[in-house]
């Protein structure tokens, strides 16, 4: 690494989690020079996604003894008029990491034989990953052996997509799951007429196959989904960061009732098509959901129940217990005991409003995993000049004694880098800084399984399932099941994420009972009846993650006023907290941001009429495609008037839509490809 970091920036951001990345992008986009560093060698912190081998190294790191070391060398580099706030050397947000491998760990080179005879897998259950990833790569068969034929000829192109154990489930009718080029390419790669065509479907996935196909996995540390009308989606679109990522709709909302997994009807079409509901139930549900959609308009309906919990309120509505259960757990996704009627109604409304924007459920999932999102914001930051440096630790913040403000950081090379503002992710702060903070914990499990929890016509389903609390006082467990077309797991497997707020000591204690309800450990699978079989568990990881959301600034000791702390991921399904926080910070930094927008708010004299929306669209489209012709006076006119539009009222919105160099000429002369104003 020949290059040395510049020693002066406007903003230094430490940590590449989602909130930090959003702020970095926003600052960079508003014309500030940004240094974004992370002591880890990967992007995203606790928001990251890993390949299988990447996850194994991550596990190894956290299974090691960890005593919260701090940096000390900086003390010699501090002047008398300064004070240092040390940062943490090693992350301590992950605890109780446990790995259990259920899949056969034989390094058998003859996977194709497994299909013919039902071989005893000789499963080994161990409490740790006893094999380093590299040593496992050798013994495995071609990927094509994981595929299974279809009898229907018209389904031929689906072949590489077919799940091993669900072969008989496939009717080739799942046209909604189109193939990615990646899979097309793989298909093109398959030797034609290979004996795959005759291979029986009972193929077992072994541990070595998982390791060999490890690159196909993108395993999220934090399991979240995007509400299709949520803040994050809005931000992605506004900022144009959405062009760096692709999304898939969650295909099913599932519920868990009396030991069975059921699909929850939530859209109008679902309700009417549901075979589980009676005609009367359908009407009741539709009536209730329609009411929820604009419940504020009919306060009489719920006023009397404002003091009650949502579950009690539901009982007073004309809903069967069945429907109450669905609404409470799967639609509102709220707690039976503690959620108020108003909160429940709001959640239900939010859910319903998000329906149908991009598909039949309210949720989207980013292809290649949640970990893509921080990276996309980081790219946006880099495109606008942000400097990126991974594996770059920061020893301390340097605080000026007189002003009480932070003025610089000292990095692991001892280099001093000064800035005006500092964004630090919570996990970088030491115990000394956080001694008054009480953190909650999130319990997480990551499972690799061989079938969906609810079989359907298509094996490419993305499902969310809420398992209600087993005993009073414990927490509901959120289960997100991802199929291979989300690019997060290898073909023939499913990646299952379980999340709940921690109540017992370890994640395993919190979640294992739910895992046992839904899945069968691989070794026992042989004994069970084929028809009633639950999905086999191939591999499981449990860990606890610190939840640093919702911590008030005052809780941190000795925090200089120009240092902002970003929280790690919370336990909720959406990303509201993360995005809200960035909005808050941008407000408190707004004087600083808006300096980049001096002419943005100058009213254009004499123009009263607003431009036509269609022209604005053309403008935005051309702008986003870099095809705006600077000599196009009509569009330029539109542009100047767009600034008057009511719809673009807040400064932050403006910021996202138009990078400030459009307003301040000369500052970014190298920005050739969008030189709108410069040439005017």
């Amino acid at each position: 690494m020949a290059d040395k970091l510049p020693s002066e920036f406007d903003v230094v951001v430490i940590g590449t989690g989602l909130p930090e990345s959003i702020i970095a992008a926003a600052c960079s986009r508003s014309g500030q020079s940004v240094l974004h560093v992370d002591s880890r060698s990967y992007y995203g912190g606790n928001w990251a996604s890993f390949s299988f081998s990447g996850l194994l190294s991550w596990i190894k790191e956290y299974q090691e003894e960890n005593n919260g070391e701090e940096w000390t060398a900086w003390q010699e580099l501090i002047l008398e008029t300064e004070e240092g706030v040390a940062l943490r050397k090693k992350d301590q947000t992950i605890q109780h990491v446990e790995v259990i491998c259920y899949a056969s760990q034989d390094s058998d080179e003859h996977v194709e034989e497994v299909g013919a005879v039902q071989k005893n897998p000789g499963s080994v259950t161990s409490a740790s990953t006893n094999d380093p990833p590299d040593s496992m790569v050798t013994a495995c068969s071609d990927t094509s052996e994981l595929t299974t034929p279809l009898s229907e000829p018209e389904a031929a192109r689906e072949v590489p997509d077919v799940d091993v154990t669900l072969g008989n489930e496939n009717h080739g009718g799942d046209t909604d799951c189109s193939q990615s080029p990646l899979e097309q390419e793989k298909a093109g790669n398959l030797p034609v007429g290979e004996d795959v065509v005759d291979a029986p479907k009972k193929n077992r996935i072994t541990y070595s196959q998982i390791v060999k196909e490890g690159r196909r996995f993108n395993i999220d540390l934090t399991s979240k989904l995007l509400y299709s009308r949520g803040l994050l989606i809005d931000l992605l679109i506004k900022s144009n960061v959405s062009r760096y990522a692709e999304f898939k709709n969650v295909t099913r909302i599932l519920g868990y009732q009396e030991g069975n997994v059921l699909q929850v009807p939530c859209s109008r079409a679902d309700v009417f098509n549901s075979k589980k509901l009676t005609m009367v139930e359908k009407r009741m549900l539709m009536k209730f959901l329609t009411f929820c959609l604009d419940y504020e308009q009919q306060p009489d309906e719920y006023k009397a129940y404002e003091e009650c919990t949502f579950s009690e309120y539901l009982k007073t509505q004309k809903l069967t217990p069945n429907l109450q259960h669905f609404v409470l757990h799967s639609i509102a996704m709220t707690s039976e005991e503690s959620t108020s009627t108003l909160d429940g109604l709001r959640e239900t409304q939010n859910f319903l409003r998000c329906l149908g924007r991009y598909g039949n459920t309210p949720f989207l999932f980013p292809l290649y995993g949640q970990g893509e999102l921080p990276q996309c914001f980081c790219r946006m930051c880099a495109v606008f000049g942000g400097t990126y440096c991974l594996s770059h630790a920061v020893q301390c913040l340097v605080v000026d004694k007189e002003s009480g403000k932070c003025k610089a950081i000292i990095d692991h090379f001892g280099q001093r880098i000064s800035a005006k503002y500092f964004i630090v992710e919570d996990s970088y702060l030491t115990e000394k800084t956080c001694s008054n903070v009480t953190y909650r914990q999130i319990s997480r499990a990551v499972l690799i399984t061989d079938q969906s929890v609810l079989k359907a016509d298509s094996d490419q389903q993305i499902s969310i399932l809420t398992v209600p609390p087993v005993e009073p006082g414990s927490e509901a467990v959120r289960v997100v099941e991802l199929c291979s077309s989300t690019m997060t797991c290898m073909k023939g497997t499913y990646l299952v994420h379980l999340t709940c707020p921690s109540s017992k000591k370890t994640a395993r204690e919190d979640l294992e009972s739910v895992v046992q309800k839904l899945f069968t450990p691989y070794a026992e699978a042989e004994l069970e009846n084929e028809e009633l079989k639950k999905p086999n568990l191939l591999w499981a990881l449990y860990f606890n993650m610190r939840d640093s959301s919702d911590i008030s600034r005052e809780c941190y000791n000795d925090l200089p006023s120009n240092v902002y702390v970003c929280c790690g991921p919370d336990g909720f399904l959406g990303n509201k907290n993360a995005v809200k926080q960035t909005g808050m910070y941008s407000c408190s930094m707004s004087s600083f941001w808006n300096s980049a927008l001096p002419c943005a708010y100058k009213p254009t004299s004499g123009t009263t009429s607003s431009p036509k929306p269609s022209l604005i669209l053309i403008f935005l489209l051309k702008f986003s495609q870099n095809t705006l012709d600077p000599s196009d006076t009509l569009l330029r006119n539109v542009f100047s008037r767009v600034l008057d539009l009511n719809s673009l009222s807040s400064a932050t919105e403006m910021l996202w839509l138009f990078p400030p160099y459009l307003f301040s000429q000369g500052q970014h002369n190298s920005l050739h490809n969008r030189c709108l104003i410069k040439n005017c």
Binding site: S242, E246, G385, H672
Partner: protein
């Protein structure tokens, strides 16, 4: 997608050490420009150029590193769904050639395994300062099974050829896949991109 005015769309991604001329290659090709004395890349996300090859419109979406290569911190998502990679080094800079194996490792880790990789030795206009011989580069690219070309973004040598040849190879690759899969449009990625447009709703 049938409404779009092209037959093929490919995502091409540039990588290589800082200062080897990646941005210049793209700008020469897409805009016919060579900006002298350009510093580190700022503000270039990707550029689009539509070319016609044998009567077919091919839209090339060419992505630049946005300067993240400077401290070896390119995001993985940069490599996602790329159809081709242009791995660039500077023929007057031994160091940029020595780093190639490191780049290949990154490609192997993050890019699709079917991605087409082209090795490009840039700055042949500075032949008198050459540090990496053509033969060495040829041997290296052969060993790695890569297509190899030397270019000059400044003199516009081989730049057109680089992108057009690549487009041709991408087309024939896409054709092959289409034949096997019977799928019409080779689009990068299969997920949907999100926008404000919306159709149906709950009501």
């Amino acid at each position: 997608m049938s409404m779009e005015d092209y037959d093929f769309l490919f995502k091409i991604v540039l990588i290589g050490n800082a200062g080897v001329g990646k941005t210049c290659l793209v700008r020469r090709f897409t805009q016919g420009l060579f900006p002298p004395g350009q510093g580190a890349t700022i503000g270039v996300d990707f550029m689009i150029k539509t070319v016609e090859i044998n009567g077919e419109k091919v839209k090339l979406q060419i992505w630049d590193t946005a300067g993240q290569e400077r401290f070896r911190s390119i995001t993985q998502s940069y490599y996602r769904s790329a159809n081709a990679l242009i791995l660039t080094y500077d023929i007057t800079c031994e160091e940029s050639f020595r780093c190639l194996p490191e780049w290949l490792r990154e490609i192997e880790q993050y890019a699709s395994n079917k991605v087409i990789t082209v090795l490009v030795g840039n700055k042949i206009d500075l032949a008198e300062r050459r540090e990496v011989s053509q033969q060495r580069a040829e041997e290296f690219s052969e060993a790695q099974d890569m297509y190899y070309l030397e270019t000059s973004a400044k003199e516009s040598d081989n730049v057109e050829k680089l992108f057009l040849d690549l487009a041709c190879r991408l087309i024939s690759e896409a054709r092959q896949n289409t034949l096997v899969n019977n799928v019409a449009s080779p689009l990068p990625g299969e997920g949907k991109s999100i926008s404000y447009l919306t159709c149906c709703n709950f009501n």
